[in-house]
Subunit: 231 residues, 4 copies
Amino acid sequence: MLEELKEKVWEANMFLPKYALITFTWGNVSGIDRCRGLVIIKPSGVAYEHMRPEDMVVVDLEGTVVEGKWKPSSDTPTHLELYKNFSGIGGVVHTHSRWATTFAQAGLEIPPLGTTHSDYFYGAIPCTRTMTSEEINGEYEKETGKVIIETFRDLDPQTIPAVVVHSHGPFTWGDTPQKAVEHAVVLEECAGMAWQDLLVSNNTVRPIQKELLDRHYLRKHGQNAYYGQTV
Amino acid sequence: MLEELKEKVWEANMFLPKYALITFTWGNVSGIDRCRGLVIIKPSGVAYEHMRPEDMVVVDLEGTVVEGKWKPSSDTPTHLELYKNFSGIGGVVHTHSRWATTFAQAGLEIPPLGTTHSDYFYGAIPCTRTMTSEEINGEYEKETGKVIIETFRDLDPQTIPAVVVHSHGPFTWGDTPQKAVEHAVVLEECAGMAWQDLLVSNNTVRPIQKELLDRHYLRKHGQNAYYGQTV
Amino acid sequence: MLEELKEKVWEANMFLPKYALITFTWGNVSGIDRCRGLVIIKPSGVAYEHMRPEDMVVVDLEGTVVEGKWKPSSDTPTHLELYKNFSGIGGVVHTHSRWATTFAQAGLEIPPLGTTHSDYFYGAIPCTRTMTSEEINGEYEKETGKVIIETFRDLDPQTIPAVVVHSHGPFTWGDTPQKAVEHAVVLEECAGMAWQDLLVSNNTVRPIQKELLDRHYLRKHGQNAYYGQTV
Amino acid sequence: MLEELKEKVWEANMFLPKYALITFTWGNVSGIDRCRGLVIIKPSGVAYEHMRPEDMVVVDLEGTVVEGKWKPSSDTPTHLELYKNFSGIGGVVHTHSRWATTFAQAGLEIPPLGTTHSDYFYGAIPCTRTMTSEEINGEYEKETGKVIIETFRDLDPQTIPAVVVHSHGPFTWGDTPQKAVEHAVVLEECAGMAWQDLLVSNNTVRPIQKELLDRHYLRKHGQNAYYGQTV
């Protein structure tokens, strides 16, 4: 069932250790089949070394396991909330990568300080608000997803495909699971650079000029994009 | 004698270079057989590259060598003190890993700033007090253990399985030698993130909300834990 | 056509991942054949793993593709501007390497703090001015090159073969593509050290003494250089 | 000639890339045969990948090449000055390793902040004074050695086998070339930790207690040392 997507989701999960985004099993990637309304996600707490495509878990949009011998990632309800509200996305990634998590723990957004950031993200990566006791003690992982959605009330998840969850860590997304991982890698790199800039400039560093942000984002993603090869 | 535990203690020691927690021979892992009251520990100053399970040293709880051709780690008396006072633990690790040691040298506890920390440690990782001249000039390694015990007077070593010894470095423990190493890896990661947070926020960063600390610690370790696979 | 130079430019591009100067495809190296007035450069957005010498693109000094199945790097007009104005150079490199980019994003020059810097660069690595809206919205990549040239009005590109472009990242150059990569590696190392020095000394660190800068630069590059082997 | 020492000096040089202490050829190790008064040192500017034991250069204590097809390291006069004045040492190392060089460039000594430092160095690692124009423009590399000797006027090079040369980088030494490399590795690790401590504590971090410094240094190096195996 959905063998091709399973393979892709598995491969995308294997990129997390490859790009040094995780320690142990702290991370998960999912992908969605929009036609069937089914999501494939990494099993909870299974070691990457031994994980195979057939270990991936298939769940429906309510989180019910449809196929798979393992329990899905405990963060599954957060992924589902994103799929339900960000209609254009095909893959979601969660990690505790060190630099992005540093911003999450400090409760700070990641400011757009240069073209590396602008090539992928069309503005600051927001940080969610702290959650209420009710949210934390209720359906916590689902509420985490809802707080992300709330954060994007006035933001476009297509042009800012990443968030840092307060006190927790980053979530990224994209058209495919692979793209979502690519965004997780770039986020980590931009977070590291931003941290270094904030420190060297005594917090007086300023965001990139709006014109330059536009130019870089649009030369890769705009209607007249001219970066890369035309397929 | 105790071949299986020797193998486990040796394997746990080999994880120290694998997870980049040590330089040269600066670290040691031990394990205990509670029935026989015997501890197996790494030999002192032997290179990891050539170390084999049969090089492990067996000592009783007073530190007398019961089997083994080498001298045990010079930190053995510290390990023994922990085994004698923390009745539930099965393994102990000592390293000079860079981030945790940075806190030890600064005489600072490692504050719980996020869920990465909360998934493993149910509060701040304490730093021991400085030792007196008498303690340093007396049975120093044993006194080091006693100062750790003193630090945990009002703390639970089961829920906070780690400490940084003032001016020295981290000790971690767990149900097994492998678990103790896992805690050493997580401690190092959390220390690195905490340091980055303290710097970016000019020391105004605040600990994670109590509710979120609870939620994350208990979803992995509480009675109704739901993280990972049920065995 | 220009097979030998293609091979060299390809090899120099492959050094970028080897020396950990890039993430994904974020970087490019070019080389010039001064007699024919042709430049060879990396194709845009092609993965390094699969890139072969025959994938390199040949362009003339106006940027017209003379040979090659791919589009050239989108930064090609910047490279061309450098070749046209810095008559002595044979290779150009652009990366987003983390430390040099940190200075670019902070809008800071990289001060010459020690002999590591002085062995290669005869003074501070300048940072370009911010660009105007007209420049950004016009022929942006070409204007980037012109701003670099403007920055070197009173500097010698032979003795300071590097620049950080404001809000963007480093460009380096050299007699050959290989030399340009060497300068990119050294720049990154010096930027990292300088950042660490600026932080530990509360921004009061002072540049290296002029005499020592002279001595180190000239013992490697002066008329009576005595470093290395005489060929 | 001196084949065994050549092999050892070569091997010690190969440790520099292994322990990530150098970029390109920026570093050198030498060893001395005290009976014959001959020093073996790395050739200048030769790549590590292709270096073999027979490429090592033999010089006498005045720096005259006695054997070898290459020019010796340009830092040879500094090494010779150390051998002539520190009678007990058998090997010398020079690198531009990043953390130690950070202190050198800031003109700061590396304070003894913990037991990692105390296990190897019996006090702060000093930083030399800035050199005069006469020294820099005269026999510069020899004068560098003399400034190191001057710095150790009231220090014991046996118990503090390292120095950072102002605006330049570290030199370490030891009984053998291998020991000198070991000290270079430890110095780098201690410098990194010290830098992290200075930053997290707003420069208020205090050196380790004298009693603890004594205990750790002496349990490894004192008359009644009990660390490691007795041979």
